[in-house]
Symmetry: C2
Subunit: 101 residues, 2 copies
């Protein structure tokens, strides 16, 4: 049978707003989009090739994204790899649908 990663995730009240905020900045949205398109673990430095942004600002945004739960990070030597957490996004969408639709 197909495993669809269907584990149900609960979104806290805090997280609800953190996610909305995370999605409300154009650069974070772009980062998130690029991260989803990527096939392989993506370090900060690779992001900076395609998005015109200072290292400090990127680091700031990645922290916001991680705080929201939309991405997860893993340290790998001097690199940090980021992984989109699509199940969190899905839980967010479900929550909006339930609350507002």
């Amino acid at each position: 049978m197909a495993v669809t990663n269907a584990k149900h995730v609960e979104i806290t009240e805090d997280q609800l707003l953190l996610i909305a905020k995370a999605l409300a900045d154009p650069r974070r949205y772009e980062i998130l989009k690029k991260l989803g398109e990527q096939r392989c673990p993506t370090p900060c430095s690779t992001m900076r090739d395609s998005i015109d942004i200072s290292a400090a600002t990127l680091s700031h945004h990645m922290k916001e994204l991680e705080a929201s739960g939309l991405v997860r990070s893993e340290k790998d030597g001097k690199f940090v790899h980021y992984f989109p957490q699509q199940h969190v996004l899905r839980a967010y969408l479900d929550r909006l649908k339930t609350d507002l639709a």
Copy 2:
């Protein structure tokens, strides 16, 4: 056949961020939720019965919500009635799903 209001709505780049911002404030989220629960057209004054907020602040938030397209307003004498625009919310959810999931 069931009519499901399936008209496709396009979300502009601007609107995408306006909606995310609109959803990122706890009071606006609450307003939106209450508006959806309501059966009848809801004026500002009714909102203020259930949400502790000044008239000025409420007016400000309603403007933001309307700018995002998530609600529509209709003037009725000295009242202003608000209507949630669920098809816009649905379009937003679809867009997030397409872009990020």
